[in-house]
């Protein structure tokens, strides 16, 4: 058998396998509806109660508010401090037991360190544990000089360009701290694998990385992230990142600064906070006749239905719904005409940039613009404006669970600057920022774990975090909150982590702040949004 024939056989088989990979993404995969995760914020509360958060208070566990809070948090005043310690005033972080490190007998870093005085500055972070003396290979993926992390993201697939932001942000953060010497003298490495937005590939990639081994996963981002959850659970590997699928966010190994699952579940009913609606009422923007549009893909449709329930429970009436829009539809003019004739004054969609653009263009064509039209925060990107056309996109809104990317908040600026420096050409995005925050949380845990970090040690640190706002940039988060935990276990059923947002609106060629005037708006109540089974729980 000649070599050329052997080469050909291999090329064929290889081409086939790769072609198959490409083909298997061919059936019109669509943007994930950041359903449970996105824009719902956090919070697990006893049903019907709300927690108030006001500046400076420690929203400790257990406090029950009973009224809708209209508090506005102004965390944006955090002054940058370079030395170890000071945090910006007015940030409602809860320094509960976070100051103590629950490590397993290794030399602790400065025990006075807590999230309240932990710095975001890479040089300072490196200085907390400046040398490698006493470093051991204390865990899989850990050597005296490095720690390897894994990342499985949907870099190619139906939604190209969407999910790279996670690893880009984490990589930039790693680069920043490595340039300053690393943590306890260890350089942080990130191994990235592409799951092509396919769940089986995701599972295989996760398994491969676990076997590598990696210490933990950092910044994985994909709409197929439900694939590898079982592998991570079986191996008990921590997964630090932003979950898109519910079952990942419900996993006991999942840790996110943005909090656990966006939904609270009790007695088989799911609850979600209606912060956005409360804000709209406060600022006089509450739409009384709402329309909801989604793709005919269940992840999109169920997210839209959840919002519909929230609006209804908040007092709006539903004037039109279409949960079966096809990805390939030529125009949404029919929907717009119906919304127009039904006199809707608000529209919310859970489609992607392309779908929203069709809607915006149809609105422009019909010259009909309701006072409120918005979508989920993955559309917070310049592409939404250019895709729809600037004139069509004016007034389009979206809610962010963190400060906008043009904010002067120091962490936001750090994200922008490190991304520009270490990942030139990559676009900042909300996803990216969320994972950047997660990286900072990871750094805190590593610093606290000192010279012999283990998976358990960083998990213990995550466990101890309550109501952390990442230097005022995000809605307060408690990573350990996730239902359904049986009563009596730690953490408790209900926490008081508030849900906070900022609303952005397109003006000119960019998104500008709509409400609140500064910082984030926190408030709203936990409302029932249907059986938990609707959300995969």
């Amino acid at each position: 058998m000649s070599c050329s024939r052997l080469a050909r056989v291999t090329a064929v088989a290889l081409a086939v396998s790769l072609g198959g990979v490409a083909l298997s993404a061919c059936g019109a995969r669509v943007a994930p509806y950041l359903g449970a995760g996105a824009g719902i914020g956090q919070g697990n509360l006893a049903a019907g109660t709300v927690r108030p958060v006001s500046s400076g208070s420690s929203g400790a566990n257990g406090a029950n508010g009973t009224s809708v809070s209209n508090a506005v948090v102004n965390p944006g005043q955090g002054a940058a401090s370079s030395s170890a310690g000071s945090n910006s005033p007015g940030v409602s972080t809860a320094p509960t037991s976070g100051g103590n490190v629950r490590t397993t007998g290794s030399t602790p870093p400065p025990s006075a360190l807590s999230l309240a005085n932990f710095s975001y500055d890479p040089a300072t972070q490196a200085a907390y544990c400046p040398n490698a003396n006493g470093n051991t290979a204390s865990a899989p993926g850990v050597t005296p000089s490095s720690i390897v992390f894994g990342n499985v993201s949907g870099l190619t697939g139906a939604l190209t360009g969407t999910f790279g932001a996670g690893y880009e942000a984490v990589q930039a953060a790693f680069d920043g701290v490595n340039a300053a010497g690393g943590i306890c003298g260890r350089k942080l490495e990130l191994l990235v694998e592409n799951d092509n937005q396919d769940a089986s590939t995701n599972a295989a990639d996760v398994a491969n990385l676990i076997a590598h081994p990696v210490f933990a996963f950092a910044g994985s981002l994909s709409d197929a992230d439900n694939g590898g959850v079982q592998e991570m659970q079986q191996a008990n590997v921590p997964d630090i990142g932003f979950a898109i699928n519910t079952n990942r966010s419900l996993s006991p190994d999942y840790w996110s600064a943005g909090g656990g699952s966006g939904l609270y579940v009790r007695n088989g009913i799911a609850y979600a906070p209606n912060t956005i609606m409360a804000a709209q009422k406060q600022f006089g923007q509450f739409p009384t006749r709402m329309a909801f549009l989604s793709y005919n893909i269940s992840i999109s449709a169920s997210a839209a239905q959840m919002y519909a329930t929230l609006y209804k429970e908040s007092g709006a009436s539903i004037c039109y719904t279409d949960y079966s829009i096809s990805v390939a539809t030529a125009s949404l003019q029919g929907d717009v005409i119906q919304m127009e004739s039904n006199h809707c004054n608000g529209v919310y969609t859970t489609m992607d940039v392309v779908g929203n653009s069709k809607m915006l263009q149809a609105m422009q064509q019909q010259n009909w613009y309701p006072p409120f039209f918005a979508s989920t925060f993955d559309t917070y990107t310049p592409a939404q404006i250019t895709e729809a056309g600037q004139s069509a996109a004016q007034g389009f809104q979206t809610s962010l669970p963190a400060l906008p990317l043009n904010s002067s908040n120091p962490l936001v600026r750090l994200y922008i600057s490190e991304l520009a420096r270490y990942e030139p050409g990559k676009q900042p995005s909300e996803f990216g920022f969320q994972d950047f925050v997660n990286a900072e949380m990871l750094f805190y845990a590593l610093v606290k774990s000192g010279h012999a970090p283990t998976r358990q040690s960083i998990v213990n640190v995550f466990d101890s975090i309550h109501n952390w706002t990442a230097w005022g940039a995000i809605s307060p988060g408690t990573p350990s909150e996730r239902p359904p935990n049986p009563p009596g276990t730690s953490p408790p059923w209900f926490g008081l982590t508030p849900s906070c947002y900022v609303e952005m609106k397109v003006q000119g060629n960019q998104f500008v702040r709509d409400w609140p005037a500064h910082g984030l708006y926190c408030g709203g109540a936990m409302l029932p949004v249907g059986p938990a089974s609707n959300y995969g729980e």
Binding site: M1, S2, R5, R8, A11, V12, A13, L14, A15, V16, S17, L18, G19, G20, A22, S24, A25, C26, G27, A28, L155, T156, T160, G161, G164, N194, A199, S200, A204, D205, A207, N208, A211, N226, V229, N245, T246, N247, S298, D322, S324, S326, V327, A328, A330, S331, Q333, D335, I337, Q338, S341, V353, K358, Q361, Q365, Q366, T386, E387, S533, Y535
Partner: protein, 734 residues
């Protein structure tokens, strides 16, 4: 909202979109004889290049248009022509595979070449609007698209009906050789046909991208929706394709007025697939495929006429099985898990080999059955998998009536149309059945436990692996038993000539239905194991795209039992391995290579290669008879002199070509072996002598086979030989 007419008007515009796409499909089929699954991808590629010229490099609009329509699209057309020419009317499965390969090439290549971001692309027509009635506003771009579509429909109709080119292209498709004899330059016509349909695809892409969005997958989806209108025209009538597209748009738009949610909405969304399925079944035998005047080529790669002796089979099979069982000694953990996935996939591939390779029924819905198995296992296997076997058997039982349903179209359809009908079925499952939470757990999926059989848990990687080896061995043994049995022969009778089979007592209806049902049941049984491997399954694991991929692999394996299944399993395992980002750049190139090799060797490049490998080995066997110079032996067979003189009978020529080509392959060798001591060679070339006396095969056939094997192995053997017999008119273009 009382008035319906705005939706009617909107429907006209969205209908234009479908009409453009469906006309493109019909145009391609009418003029080139190929049903181009990759049509949408070509359109998409042209749209991207248009964007690059106009918005990326800021060339003037007209120049960008001309560049795309007069340069880029024709180039794509030329390449398509070269790829498809040997396949027209010959093998539907291979055609499907090639067009899918092209689709995959574009889908993988465009993001790499153009980067990942979505782009906006402005319409070439103004988007300002004017009012129609009290509420509707129509944009000039919409109106222009509508008018342009109508004009194009008319133009194409005239082109196909009333021009020489139209006539000539019909002639070429109907009977290429005859057309050649009548002075039609088939090659030129074929090329022109492809250029025209590519240019049309480019036009479709440029016209539709502004409203659809410039994305990799959208146009492909639109084109799949447009299959139904194209079939309405039986793939040959442009006016009907146009009408069908318009009708589909109007119907969908009007339906939307009535119900944007609930059952009506589900039906509206699935309507194009439903329509496709119904149309195909209703039209039935009135749908004719393009057939070349020749019977399909039988290459050296086809299953060896002499199945391996039982002894040999047992030993080699036993060795393979033993090797598989022992593998955990070498591999652990996730790697072993990957191989497990490959084993299950190979078992599933076996079921498709039986259906497609032996019974000749193309099915693009096999993975739907696998999905049934996985979800059934999730529902019924019990908390720790204690009822796993029962769940798997239940899944197989449920798959039987489903298989009968899928088999119904096969009673009235074959080849391409059967493929389309099964595709419609798979898409219906994907869109209507699987997403239901009570079936599959919805998008969040459901968990499937590992099996616990007779109290033994097979949850660990190694134990589950061994269980899957058993599964594959069982399936393999069953398949091999069928292959050698009367049942196997019956299936192959039906495949090779349904007409003759029925005259020899085969009840085609029963046989087809039974084979669909059993293949489906087997796939469902394996599906339970597939679900257990994944541990969490969701509808996205069992889509139509996966059925396509399976067909692709089976066809590449030459539809042969062993090669097909093993290739499938091996490839599936390989693709689970992570791809380093640097290598990803080369994916499109390897796909392209693969596609080219498939097109060049339609019999199945892998199987062919394997067969030629064995044939080449036979060069080193001892010869029983007296030697004759190999060159002479080659000439006597290869030149086909005697056959040619028989006259212009088209079929005759091809038969000669078949015969000669076949001599180059393993068959000759086999024949030589069995004929044994018969020393007379060259007799086979003179049929009269063969009829009267002993048609001896040269024992040197083996040598000739081996030597000639390397001649025939590169490039396209059929092409070469056809060229020599044709005297320069057609195929082997210089």
């Amino acid at each position: 909202m009382s008035s319906l007419w705005p939706f009617f008007v909107i429907g006209l515009f969205s209908g234009s979109v479908y009409a453009l796409a469906s006309m493109g499909i019909v145009l391609t089929y009418r003029t080139s004889g190929v049903f181009n699954f990759a049509y949408g991808a070509v359109a998409m590629f042209c749209a991207f290049t248009y964007w690059q010229f106009r918005d990326g490099w800021h060339l003037p609009e007209w120049i960008s248009l001309l560049l795309v329509l007069l340069v880029v699209a024709p180039v794509v057309g030329f390449v398509s022509d070269r790829l498809y020419r040997p396949l027209v009317g010959v093998s539907t499965e291979v055609q499907i595979v090639v067009s899918l390969g092209i689709l995959a090439f574009f889908e993988a290549g465009v993001p790499l070449a153009f980067g990942g971001r979505t782009r906006a692309i402005q319409s070439i027509f103004p988007i300002s609007t004017f009012g129609v009635g009290s509420i509707l506003r129509v944009s000039w771009a919409q109106l222009a698209t509508f008018l342009l579509t109508a004009i194009l429909a008319l133009g194409l109709y005239v082109l196909l009906r009333h021009t020489r080119f139209g006539m000539a292209s019909r002639a070429v498709i109907d009977n290429r050789d005859l057309a050649g004899l009548l002075g039609v330059n088939a090659t030129a016509v074929g090329r022109t046909s492809w250029v025209i349909s590519s240019v049309f695809a480019g036009l479709v892409g440029i016209l539709l991208s502004p409203s659809q969005g410039l994305q990799v997958y959208v146009l492909v989806t639109v084109v799949i929706y447009a299959f139904a209108p194209a079939v309405l025209g039986r793939l040959v009538s442009l006016p009907l394709a146009y009408a069908g597209g318009m009708g589909l748009g109007v119907l969908q738009s009007v339906l939307q007025r009535w119900g944007a949610s609930g059952t009506v909405a589900d039906i509206e969304a699935a309507f194009p697939y439903l329509a496709l399925f119904v149309l195909l079944v209703v039209y039935g035998k009135r749908l004719t495929e393009v057939r070349s005047g020749v019977k399909p080529v039988i290459g050296a790669s086809v299953m060896s006429p002499l199945l391996m002796s039982r002894q040999k089979l047992l030993t080699s099979g036993g060795l393979v099985a033993l090797g598989l069982f022992a593998l955990p000694v070498l591999l652990r953990g996730p790697d072993l898990g990957d191989v497990t996935a490959g084993l299950i996939y190979a078992a599933i591939a076996l079921t498709l080999v039986v259906l497609v390779g032996w019974a000749g029924q193309i099915s693009l819905a096999q993975f739907s059955f696998v999905g049934i198995g996985a979800f059934m296992a999730g529902h019924f296997a019990g908390a720790h998998g204690s009822n796993f076997l029962w769940a798997a058997l239940l899944a197989a039982a449920i798959a039987v009536p489903v298989g009968l349903l899928v088999g119904l179209p096969s009673l009235r359809l074959s080849g391409l149309y059967l493929a389309l009908a099964t595709m419609a079925f798979a898409l219906l499952m994907d869109n209507l059945v699987f997403p239901r939470t009570d079936v599959s757990g919805g998008y969040t999926g459901m968990s499937v436990p590992r099996p616990r059989i007779f109290g033994i848990s097979f949850a660990s990687t190694t134990s589950f692996y061994e269980l899957c080896v058993v599964l594959l061995v069982l399936f393999g043994v069953a398949a091999l038993a069928v292959q050698r049995s009367a049942v196997g022969r019956r299936l192959k009778m039906m495949r090779d000539s349904p007409l003759a089979a029925s005259t020899f007592g085969v009840n085609l209806t029963t046989t087809k239905l039974v084979v669909f049902a059993l293949a489906g049941a087997a796939a469902a049984f394996a599906g339970a194991f597939d679900g257990a491997w994944h541990l969490t399954v969701s509808p996205s694991n069992y889509t139509f795209a996966q059925s396509l991929e399976l067909l692709l692999l089976v066809v590449l394996g030459g539809r042969s039992l062993v090669a097909g299944a093993l290739l499938a399993g091996f490839t599936y395992t390989t693709q689970l391995l992570p791809i380093p980002t640097e290598i990803e750049k080369f994916i499109p190139i390897t796909i392209a290579l693969g596609v080219v090799s498939v097109a060049a060797v339609p019999e199945g490049s892998v199987a062919l290669t394997v067969k030629q490998f064995w044939a080449a080995l036979d060069n080193f066997r001892r010869l029983p008879g007296s030697p004759m110079p190999a060159a002479l032996a080659l000439d006597a067979r290869g030149a086909n002199g005697a056959q040619l003189e028989r006259g212009a009978n088209g079929a005759q020529l091809q038969r000669g070509a078949n015969g000669a080509q076949l001599q180059h392959g393993a068959q000759q060798h086999q024949g030589a072996n069995s004929a044994g001591s018969d020393g007379r060679d060259g007799a086979a070339v003179y049929p009269a002598a063969a009829l009267s006396g002993r048609g001896g095969e040269s024992p040197l056939g083996g040598v000739a086979g081996g030597v000639a094997g390397s001649v025939a192995g590169d490039g396209s053997p059929v092409e070469e030989l056809v060229a020599t017999t044709r005297g320069g008119g057609g195929g082997g273009d210089a």
